[in-house]
C-alpha cells in the first residue's frame, strides 16, 4: 500500500479490470442487484405490479417464525437433501472409480450415466410421474405392488429424491473422474505391492486424494438440493395428499410470489432459505479442515 505503481503494474491493473468487467456486469445486473432487491422486498408488503409497496419492518419475518407451513417445508427440503446428497455422491464415486479403469465400452457408459443431466427437468418429471403412477405406472405393474409412490405423504418426498439422485449421478461422476485424473498411478502400484486390495485402495488412497473434489461436490450439491423445485412442482399438485409433506422452500417462494402475488412474503421465505444455506456452507467450510487434504 502507498507504493507507487510502475507503469507495467498500472497497465495490468487496467487490463485486468477490462477483462473482468463483462462478467462483473453480468453478475451485478443478474445476481447481485436482484439479491439486494429481494432482501429489501422482504421488509415490504408489496403492492400490485410493483407499485404501492409498504414498508412493514420485520412483520414478514415474524410471520415466518409462526408459520408452520414454512417449517414443514424446510423439513421437507432437508429430508430431500439428506437422501439425495449422500447417496448420489456415494454411487457417483463408485461409478467414477469403476469407469476410470480400462473397461470395454467405457465411453459409452460414461455417456449413458451423464445423459439424465442433459435432459430437461420438465421432461424427466413427466416421464417419472407416469412410471410412479399407482394405477397405470410401469413400476407398480412390473413388480405387482400397489404403492402410492407420489401420493403417499410418508414416501412421496423420497420418491422424488430418488429421481433427484438418478438425474445428478452423471454430473457428480464427471467431476470425480476429473479428480481421479490427478491421482498418480504409482500410489496404487505401491499399495498393491504391499498387498492392499481394491477396497483398501479406495478408502486409503483414492478418497483422501480426491477429497477436495468430494468437498466441492458436497457443498454445491447441498446448495442444489436445498433449492429443489422443478421436480416437485411438476409432480405434485394442490390436490395431492402428499402436498404438504413435499412442498419445498423454493416451492413456497414460488407459490407466494407468483401464484398469490405476495412478493414481499415470498422474498422473506427465500431470504430464510439463503440464511439456512449460508449456515450449512459455513459449517462445511469449517469442517473441511478435518478431512479435506489439499496436497
Amino acid at each position: 500500500m502507498g507504493k507507487k505503481l510502475t507503469s507495467r503494474q498500472k497497465s495490468e491493473l487496467i487490463w485486468g479490470w477490462i477483462f473482468i468487467i463483462p462478467t462483473m456486469l453480468g453478475l451485478f445486473v443478474l445476481n447481485i442487484y436482484p439479491m439486494i432487491d429481494t432482501i429489501k422486498q422482504s421488509f415490504y408488503k408489496t403492492g400490485d405490479f410493483g407499485k404501492g409497496n409498504k414498508f412493514v419492518g420485520l412483520a414478514n419475518y415474524q410471520k415466518v417464525l409462526g408459520d408452520s407451513e414454512i417449517w414443514q417445508s424446510l423439513w421437507n427440503t432437508v429430508k430431500y437433501a439428506i437422501v439425495e446428497v449422500p447417496i448420489s455422491i456415494v454411487i457417483a464415486l463408485l461409478l467414477a472409480v469403476l469407469l476410470n479403469k480400462k473397461l470395454k465400452g467405457r465411453d459409452t457408459f460414461r455417456t449413458i450415466f451423464f445423459l439424465p443431466m442433459v435432459v430437461a427437468p420438465a421432461a424427466i418429471a413427466m416421464v417419472w410421474k407416469w412410471l410412479y403412477n399407482s394405477n397405470f405406472g410401469l413400476i407398480n405393474n412390473v413388480f405387482h405392488v400397489r404403492v402410492n409412490w407420489i401420493s403417499d405423504p410418508k414416501i412421496a418426498i423420497y420418491s422424488i429424491a430418488a429421481i433427484g439422485i438418478w438425474s445428478v449421478i452423471g454430473y457428480n461422476m464427471v467431476l470425480f473422474l476429473a479428480g481421479l485424473q490427478e491421482v498418480p498411478r504409482d500410489y496404487y502400484e505401491a499399495a498393491s505391492l504391499d498387498g492392499a486390495n481394491g477396497w483398501h485402495q479406495l478408502v486409503n488412497i483414492t478418497i483422501p486424494l480426491i477429497s477436495p473434489t468430494i468437498f466441492f461436490v458436497l457443498v454445491t450439491r447441498i446448495i442444489g438440493a436445498m433449492q429443489v423445485f422443478d421436480l416437485i412442482y411438476m409432480m405434485i399438485d394442490l390436490n395431492n395428499p402428499a402436498w404438504k409433506k413435499t412442498q419445498s422452500l423454493v416451492f413456497l417462494f414460488y407459490k407466494y410470489s407468483f401464484e398469490q402475488s405476495k412478493k414481499g412474503y415470498g422474498a422473506t421465505v427465500v431470504v430464510v432459505l439463503l440464511l439456512v444455506i449460508l449456515v450449512l456452507t459455513v459449517v462445511q467450510l469449517i469442517g473441511q479442515k478435518k478431512w479435506v487434504h489439499y496436497d
Binding site: A122, A123, S134, N135, E182, N239, N240, Y254, Q260, Y294
Partner: protein, 443 residues
C-alpha cells in the same frame, strides 16, 4: 497440485453456473391447473408475452386448441381492416407470470384474454384500456346481449374493461359402454344428485368406478352441487364465506360419502390421474366436465367412440339444476399504441357475426346470447345438448373475489382432510370458513 485443483474447481463452477442457468426456467412446460386445462404446454418456456408495435396488432391467448379457429376470425377482420394481427399462444401458467411481468414493465400485447381470477387487480391498476366510451359509440356492441355475470366481471366503478368472449357450462360426461355393461339407464334430465350417487354405486366394480371427483377443480365438481343444494361459497358482497353453511356442508358430504363407499376413487388416485384421464381410459363411468374439455374428448379415440354427455343432476326440482359458469373477456392494454385498431378487433370478435363464427368453428360456446346453437353440431360424435341445455339451467357465476386464488388454494388444501376422511366434513368446512373470512377481510 493445489493450482490444478483450483483450476478444476473454477471450471467446474463455470459449468455449474451454466447448468444452473439452464435449470432456472422451472416454468418450462408446467401443468395447467384447475381451469381451462387443455392449454397445450409449449416445448420451451416462452420469453415474452408480446408487445405493442405501431401499425400491427399482437394478440395473446393461452389455449392452443382455440388458436386455429380464432386466427381464422382474426384473418377475416384483417381482410376488412387491412391491419395485420397475429395470435401468440402462451400456456396457462406462463401466461399469468409473463402478463404480470409485462404489466409491471409496461409491455403488454395489444389484445389479450382476461380471466376472473385476476381481472379485478388489472382493472384497479389501470392496466386495461377503458372501453366504456367506445362501447357506447359502437353500433355493433350492446352489453345487454351478453351473459350478465361475465359482463359484470370486467366492470369497475361503472367502467367496462373487457368484452365477453365465451361462456362455459358444466355437464355430466358418461361412458355408454360401462352403463350398458352394468345395465344402468343413461343419465338424463330426470336425475337428482341422489340418483347420481346411487347409480354411481351400481356402476362400480373391480374394473372401474362410478364417478371420479376432481378435488382441485371446484368448477367441475362440488361448486355446482353446493349451489344446487342451496348453499353458497362466498356472499354477494364478497365479505363472507359460505363454507360453513349447513347446505354447503351437506353438498360436500355427497362426495365424501361416495369416496367412503368406494364408488369414487380415493384422493391419492385422482391426484395422480385426473378424472378426465380416468374417463378417457375407461376407468370411470361418469365425470363432471366443463365445455372446454370438448376438444380433448373429441380427439381421444376411446371417448369419441364410447362416451356422451348429459345435463347435470338437480336437487329437489329441475329449477335448482345449477351450472357454475365463467367466461373470458377480450381486453386491450391501457398503453397500446393502436387503441383504435385494438378496439376494432375486439368489436369484431365480440360482434354477433364474430361470435356466431366462433361457435360454428367449434372454438367454444359464445358469450353473445343465442349465438351458440351452431356449436351443438360442431362435434357429431357427442350429443352436445348436454352442455347447451345447461345454458337454460340456473347459471351461477364462478365464485370469486379480488384475490380468489388465495382462499381457493387454501380451500383445496384443507378439503383434502375431508376427502380422505381424516377429519369430519363439518370441522373442515368450519375451519375453511374461518380462514377464508380472514383472507377476505384482508383484501
Amino acid at each position: 497440485m493445489k493450482k490444478k485443483v483450483l483450476a478444476i474447481l473454477l471450471s467446474a463452477v463455470t459449468v455449474l453456473s451454466m447448468i444452473g442457468c439452464g435449470n432456472e426456467a422451472p416454468a418450462a412446460a408446467p401443468e395447467a391447473p384447475a381451469q381451462e386445462e387443455q392449454a397445450v404446454a409449449e416445448e420451451e418456456a416462452p420469453q415474452s408475452i408480446g408487445s405493442s408495435v405501431e401499425g400491427e396488432l399482437s394478440v395473446t391467448i393461452w389455449d392452443e386448441g382455440q388458436r386455429p379457429g380464432l386466427q381464422q376470425i382474426v384473418d377475416d377482420w384483417s381482410a376488412e381492416s387491412g391491419i395485420k394481427a397475429t395470435i401468440q399462444v402462451v400456456d396457462w401458467n406462463n401466461y399469468w407470470t409473463l402478463l404480470e411481468a409485462g404489466a409491471t414493465g409496461g409491455e403488454l400485447p395489444d389484445v389479450f384474454w382476461m380471466h376472473s381470477n385476476v381481472a379485478q387487480k388489472y382493472m384497479e391498476n389501470d392496466q386495461l384500456l377503458d372501453l366504456t366510451d367506445m362501447i357506447a359509440a359502437s353500433d355493433k356492441t350492446d352489453l345487454n346481449n351478453y351473459y350478465e355475470g361475465i359482463v359484470k366481471l370486467y366492470q369497475l366503478d361503472g367502467r367496462q374493461y373487457a368484452v365477453p368472449k365465451d361462456i362455459d357450462t358444466i355437464a355430466l360426461w358418461y361412458n355408454k359402454t360401462i352403463f350398458d355393461e352394468m345395465g344402468v339407464p343413461y343419465p338424463d334430465d330426470t336425475w337428482t344428485w341422489k340418483d347420481f350417487a346411487e347409480n354411481a354405486k351400481k356402476l362400480t366394480n373391480d374394473e372401474h368406478w362410478g364417478y371420479a371427483i376432481a378435488p382441485g377443480n371446484n368448477q367441475e365438481g362440488y361448486y355446482n352441487t353446493i349451489y344446487s343444494y342451496g348453499g353458497y361459497v362466498i356472499s354477494d358482497d364478497k365479505k363472507k364465506s359460505g363454507m360453513d353453511d349447513p347446505k354447503t356442508i351437506e353438498a360436500i358430504k355427497l362426495f365424501t360419502d361416495m369416496i367412503a363407499d368406494g364408488s369414487c376413487p380415493d384422493l391419492a388416485t385422482v391426484s395422480e390421474t385426473a378424472p378426465n384421464e380416468l374417463l378417457q381410459a375407461g376407468k370411470t363411468a361418469m365425470c363432471i366436465s366443463g365445455s372446454w374439455m370438448l376438444a380433448g374428448y373429441r380427439d381421444n379415440e376411446y371417448t369419441a367412440a364410447n362416451c356422451d354427455v348429459a345435463v347435470l343432476p338437480y336437487t329437489n326440482d329441475p329449477s335448482d339444476r345449477v351450472s357454475i359458469y365463467n367466461g373470458l373477456g377480450w381486453a386491450a392494454a391501457a398503453n397500446t399504441k393502436n387503441p383504435e385498431a385494438a378496439w376494432s378487433l375486439i368489436e369484431y370478435l365480440t360482434s354477433k357475426e364474430g361470435q356466431l363464427k366462433q361457435a360454428e368453428l367449434g372454438v367454444t360456446m359464445s358469450a353473445y346470447i343465442g349465438t351458440s346453437d351452431a356449436w351443438v353440431n360442431s362435434v357429431p360424435a357427442f350429443n352436445l345438448n348436454g352442455h347447451m341445455d345447461m345454458l337454460d339451467a340456473k347459471l351461477v357465476f364462478r365464485p370469486y373475489s379480488r384475490d380468489t386464488t388465495v382462499w381457493e388454494d387454501m380451500m383445496i388444501e384443507k378439503l383434502q382432510d375431508a376427502w380422505t376422511g381424516d377429519k369430519p366434513v363439518d370441522e373442515v368446512c368450519m375451519d375453511i370458513a374461518a380462514e377464508m373470512n380472514a383472507d377476505l377481510a384482508e383484501e
